[in-house]
Amino acid sequence: MAELDYRSLVHRCFRCGFCKLTHDYSPVGFNCPMYHRFRLETYSPGGLNWLIRAALLTKSIEWTDHLSEILYSCTMCGNCAEACRFEFGKDMVNMFRQAREDVVETQLGLPKMVSQFLENVYLYGNAFREAREARGDWAAGLPVKQFADGDEYLYYVGCVGSYDSRSRKAARALASLLLKASVSFGILGQEEECDGNEVRLLGEQGLFERQRDRNIEKFKELGVKKIVTLSPHSYNTLKNDYSGEFEVLHYTQLLRDLIRAGTLPVPQRAVGKVTYHDPCFLGRHNGEYDAPREILDSIPGIDLVEMERSRNTAFCCGGGGANFYTGISAKGKEQASNARVWDAVNTGANVLAVACPVCLMTLEDAVKSEGIDDRIIVRDISEILADNK
């Protein structure tokens, strides 16, 4: 179905504030990460709608750097779309993205870190301004081969898994699991390019299309049919915004199937009490809540406990919409990730399981900055399965 234009929708927002909460009004806290962080009405989905209308449509206020920061502080986590009680609410994330597209197109001015992110992707094919040649370094020493025609899966790692030192460990863990289960797969190594999920969400549609087209061309050239992603962000865009020619799986879906089929053994060691944090781009955006839980449940040494905000009411780690890089929302004591790790600690869990390199990065930082690394550790599900300590 064709997307509705934000111009015909924003004025329908009443600023009633349902969007700041969980769908079931959890008393734990506000579920909009930017509102949680800043608490001014400007930094709420309703505030954003009214500012967008005033600045871009009725032109009753001017575009400023601060307004640009507000617009890009949204992590696009989708809680507002879930919690809004009005029919148009389901389009909320699209409305913000489309408004950003207008901002980019009309060159109104972006926050410095957003421009830098986009420039990095444009020039280097990755978010971090890292050398293209280093993209495959995460796999050093592993018997992982370059994708070739005939391989069943392309293992698409994404920028964060490829370059972030913490997330690389998850990338490696996943590769080792695929090897262990004798999955036929290959990687692109230094040939891999940014998938464009955040680029699209930041409103740079032109750059997104370039990334998408390049990737599609490469995938076709190599004979890729099935893709398994480390990151839910890659999964989201490859599945929903690409051509639809490839079968795309998040790795938890593939591993779940392998465990079910008995081709991937699960560790037998006691892990303890584990709670699982739903990544927004796997959960709310794509409705996959069960595969990661089924994996964790299948490990005998795990006692899986739920956080009060989980599944479609999960609280974002604050890193989405490129905030893991721009740091607009992801900064300061009040940032979402700090609150989220307390959600986990309050369950009594000793392990916070994630299934996303962005969440892994932000939540592990939060555990350190909150000084609770003696109470809980953050592990990607791939690492738990690979039995990496």
């Binding site: 004025h11 329908r12 927002c13 009443f14 600023r15 009633c16 504030g17 349902f18 700041k20 909460l21 079931d24 009004y25 959890s26 008393p27 800043f38 608490r39 001014l40 009405e41 400007t42 505030g47 009214w50 500012l51 005033a54 009753s60 206020i61 001017e62 400023t64 601060h66 307004l67 507000i70 009680r85 009005f86 029919e87 148009f88 300061g332 009040e334």
Partner: protein, 468 residues
């Protein structure tokens, strides 16, 4: 832009003072915050706002009040700004003090049936907190969205689903902590003598100095609120009738049974609903037998009317029933904002004698038809038929300026009509406050002025509101 505002030169100094009190993140004089806090979800504003500040505790509130006194700059306390009549907007510029960072639930006392909350605690927060920690007790919740604050609601003397039995929500106050306009912290209710805010106490009732005054007499920082038994079962019965004139007597009879917890009259200005009035009566109980008995008694009332004039209805039509039995916070009323697919509605909540309902209804229809706007009525009975809140609901499309203007006009005309009928607009917007004060006896208005003068010598608390 309405309102006088401030000369620009003081700006930086005041902003610096505010930021040093609450931290840079929570004080703003940037155009974006000033814009968002200058408008509400209804049709009021934009009004001049000079600063926005979000205190975290009473100490910070005191310091902000000191800054305001020093610079003679107005302060407007704000909860969620959801009155739809712009009461959380300053009338003459100055500081908007958004209270929602003061969001702690400080004490729940099951035995004494009260809860102590800070000023920024919302209906949603308290509701889900009680559900989790003490499901057998509840507070009287308005149909307002879950972000509405408990304190904002008692300040405007709002009402909730327990207001038939226990009076409007400001009757449920045990005590308040207030920062006076001169900066002192004042404890009101039993808590000023006893260690506990367990009731108002046999003292002069000074809670009235802060309810209905729209934040012009001080900043409430804490509230001790009564909780009430929550029964296990909730059901709804209905009465349908064509003759509007039958409504007041029916309401009298229904409340007289003492079996109803919440009583509403609903109807819409469509052809079908014009001749179709509907009364919903909520009943609660802990046993099936209790519900069945109440239903039987209420059914009997309809049987007392001539054939078919009042039709007892059970079960009630699902979409209507869900409004009254759905788990709070209540979603249905907010949906009026999308009736015109345009993100807005206003409602004049007229407090009227119950026997005035037929006349009030006809007046609303007449105004809406003449101005060519949509109208629906939502009438909540307060007390045992002691009064009614007649909600004239006028939805509009925010993108259609002419439609917005017609709704503003409808509000003016409705307020006037209500006053002529002997009623009083509730949570009146500034224009309606003027209409009320024009009708008010001069000595009463003088007393209001004397109270302001005594409490707020520098006139810092939202001057202009209530014609202050």
């Amino acid at each position: 832009m309405e309102g006088k505002g401030l000369p620009a030169m003081k700006d930086d100094l005041i902003h610096r003072d505010l930021a040093s009190i609450v931290g840079e993140d929570y004080a703003s004089n940037r155009p974006e915050e000033l814009f968002i806090y200058s408008v509400d979800s209804g049709t009021e504003g934009p009004r001049k706002v000079d600063y926005v500040v979000m205190p975290k505790n009473v100490d910070q509130v005191q310091k902000i009040v000191a800054v305001a006194n020093q610079h003679r700059i107005p302060i407007t306390p704000m909860g969620a700004n959801l009155t739809l009549n712009g009461l959380g907007l300053p009338v003459n510029g100055g500081i908007v003090m958004d209270m929602k960072r003061m969001d702690r639930i400080l004490e729940l006392n099951r035995q004494r049936k009260y809860v102590v909350v800070e000023a920024g605690v919302t209906q949603g927060m308290l509701g889900s907190y009680l559900e989790k920690n003490c499901p057998e007790l509840e507070h009287s919740r308005p149909e307002a969205p879950p972000m509405a604050t408990i304190v904002g609601n008692i300040v405007i003397r709002g009402h909730g689903y327990l207001s038939l039995r226990y009076g409007n929500n400001s009757h449920h106050i045990n005590g308040l902590e207030v920062v006076l306009p001169t900066g002192e912290v004042c404890n009101i209710g039993a808590g000023c003598v006893s260690p506990w805010p367990f009731c108002k106490g046999p003292l002069p009732d000074m809670t009235g100095l802060f309810c209905g005054w729209n934040g012009t007499t001080g900043v409430i920082t804490k509230l001790s609120l009564k909780l009430f038994p929550k029964r296990r079962m909730l059901d709804v019965v209905g009465y349908a009738m064509d003759d509007l004139e039958l409504v007041p007597e029916l309401l009298y009879q229904v409340t007289h049974t003492d079996m109803v917890d919440n009583l509403f009259v609903v109807g819409f200005a469509s052809d079908t609903h014009e001749s179709h009035k509907y009364v919903t009566a909520s009943i609660t109980g802990d046993l099936d037998e209790e519900i069945a008995y109440k239903k039987a008694v209420l059914k009997k009332i309809a049987a007392g009317y001539q054939e078919g004039r009042v039709r007892f209805d059970y079960p009630v039509w699902d979409p209507l029933k869900s409004r009254f039995v759905e788990k709070p916070p209540y979603v249905t009323p907010a949906l009026a904002a999308d009736f015109e697919r345009g993100g807005g509605f206003r409602y004049c909540g007229a407090i009227l004698p119950v026997d005035k309902i037929p006349e009030a209804w006809r007046k609303g229809m007449e105004i809406a038809h003449r101005l060519g706007i949509n109208f629906s009525a939502g009438i909540q009975i307060l007390g045992y038929c002691h009064s009614a809140m007649f909600g004239y609901v006028y939805p509009f499309n925010r993108a259609e300026e002419q439609e917005v203007e017609r709704v503003r006009k409808a509000m003016r005309e409705t307020n006037e009509a209500v006053l002529q009928m002997g009623g009083i607009p509730w949570k009146a917007e500034v224009a309606a406050q003027k209409q009320i004060i024009e009708k008010m006896e001069p000595n009463t208005h003088d007393l209001m002025k004397k109270i302001w003068k005594a409490l707020d010598p520098n006139g810092i608390m939202n001057p202009g509101n209530w014609c202050k």
